[in-house]
């Protein structure tokens, strides 16, 4: 026994190193399966407040871009205004009626931290549980998909960015509604990859990509980007297309969080269906 203690004392540097390293590895491995590594997410209080303080100074530099973005959003909304349309049929015109039931609502939020230079990127938003944000809500901007809420604290939330290896989005090609899967493969943060496009589909440069609406997270027809290039990868039977994303992840400043009001109903129904359904 005494020899054992002497042994440990003699090599305490090594043993202490082992203990710390095992703690770190345990945290890394367990986080792959459990979402409880709460301390390590920027929605936690300490880093949330530091980022918010920093952001309150640094966001003055983005004011010009933010203004342009808001103008563009406003323009798009004005285009949809009822006054822009001429009523050609005087007999029936109802704008809001019981036929239309609201499915999505939107919350606006500010991005207080983000990254684009890692393999798995995250963002932090300045709103959290208190403002009605819950995990698995979608995050979009006026012109594109940005990510999905992962963790929320009272005042902040962590977003898994589109630039994350675990982030798969069901998308479609605008002109012919063919479905594919969007997943970032690293490297350039402005381009991502749409795979599993059937090889008979007619593609051309500049084709628009939208969300398919198959997921419970994003509404249909949210713009994602445009096709730049495509190929058949070795050993595959599908087209894989390079998509230039519409939003600049490095400049994200204001976002909208999408709340799906029929989410539970949707989940309940699909959980009743046997077999795996992938989203």
């Amino acid at each position: 026994m005494r020899n054992l203690f002497r042994f440990i004392r003699r090599y305490h540097f090594f043993f202490f190193f082992l203990v710390l390293q095992v703690v770190a590895l345990f945290l890394t491995l367990s986080s792959q399966h459990f979402q409880q590594a709460y301390l390590f997410h920027s929605s936690n209080t300490l880093s949330g407040y530091v980022y918010r303080t920093y952001h309150s100074v640094s966001n003055y530099m983005y004011l010009r871009d933010v203004n342009e973005q808001l103008l563009e959003d406003n323009r798009r909304l004005m285009e949809r205004n009822r006054e822009n349309f001429l009523i050609t049929d005087q007999q029936v015109f109802q704008h809001e009626d019981s036929v239309y039931q609201r499915r999505y609502t939107y919350l606006n939020a500010g991005v207080i931290n983000k990254s684009v230079n890692r393999r798995n990127n995250y963002m932090t938003l300045n709103k959290g549980r208190r403002h009605g944000i819950e995990p698995d809500m979608g995050v979009i901007t006026g012109n594109g998909v940005a990510g999905i809420i992962m963790y929320v604290s009272d005042n902040f939330s962590s977003v898994m960015s589109l630039l994350h290896s675990d982030m798969l989005v069901s998308v479609k090609i605008g002109k012919n509604n063919h479905i594919g899967t969007l997943q970032w493969e690293g490297g350039d943060y402005r381009r991502t990859v749409m795979s599993y496009i059937p090889p008979h589909v007619d593609l051309s440069e500049g084709d628009s990509i939208f969300t398919s609406g198959h997921s419970r997270v994003f509404p249909e027809n949210v713009f994602v980007g445009t096709i730049e290039d495509w190929e058949v990868r070795r050993g595959e039977n599908f087209f894989t297309a390079t998509v230039k994303m519409a939003i600049d992840h490095n400049k994200l400043s204001l976002v909208y969080v999408v709340k799906n009001l029929m989410r539970e109903e949707h989940e309940e129904l699909e959980s009743a269906v046997p077999g795996d359904i992938q989203f």
Partner: protein
């Protein structure tokens, strides 16, 4: 006196890393990890377990800010573990004054360069491979290690130049 300076440097270097350097975008591959300078610049006589514990908390704080789960903790602890061995390898023996910190004066330019280079490489290898989590994109990860490591080394050397004068007069 010296302890307060270290504490100040600890927080200054974390803020420098997470608020400024992590927002630098250079081609999607390069992300300098300048916070390792803190472990590199600790005095020669720092006790082993102080070294490891400081590295552990430094890495953990970076992880908290970067949303990365314990990968900086693991790589910084590895760096701290390797430090005494690299020092012994390069200098042969412990320097006479245990309170001295590694600098151009105490180690010499060439030794300081090699010392920083080896430890930065160890740190970046662990970090980027843990980030990929498997060896699928082996060459790409090696490219990231080399490019980011080079830039980190440059910043660390600048750091040594900046910290050289006050500690020499201490």
């Amino acid at each position: 006196m010296f302890r307060w300076k270290l504490l100040l440097m600890f927080f200054a270097i974390v803020l420098l890393q997470v608020l400024i350097l992590n927002n630098v975008y250079l081609g999607g591959y390069i992300n300098p990890q300048v916070y390792v300078l803190f472990v590199l610049i600790l005095p020669f006589g720092t006790r082993g377990w102080h070294l490891l514990l400081l590295a552990f908390f430094l890495g953990m704080l970076i992880d908290v800010f970067e949303d990365s789960i314990a990968i900086h903790t693991a790589s910084t602890v590895m760096l701290a573990f390797a430090r005494p061995f690299v020092l012994r390898l390069l200098t042969g023996k412990q320097p006479d004054d245990a309170g001295d910190v590694p600098s151009f004066r105490t180690l010499g330019t060439m030794t300081l360069l090699v010392y920083s280079l080896i430890l930065i490489l160890i740190h970046h290898l662990v970090l980027f491979f843990m980030e990929m989590f498997h060896f699928r994109d082996f060459t790409e990860t090696i490219v990231r290690v080399v490019l980011s490591g080079g830039l980190t080394l440059l910043f660390v050397i600048i750091g040594f130049v900046l910290f050289n004068s006050p500690t020499a007069k201490r």
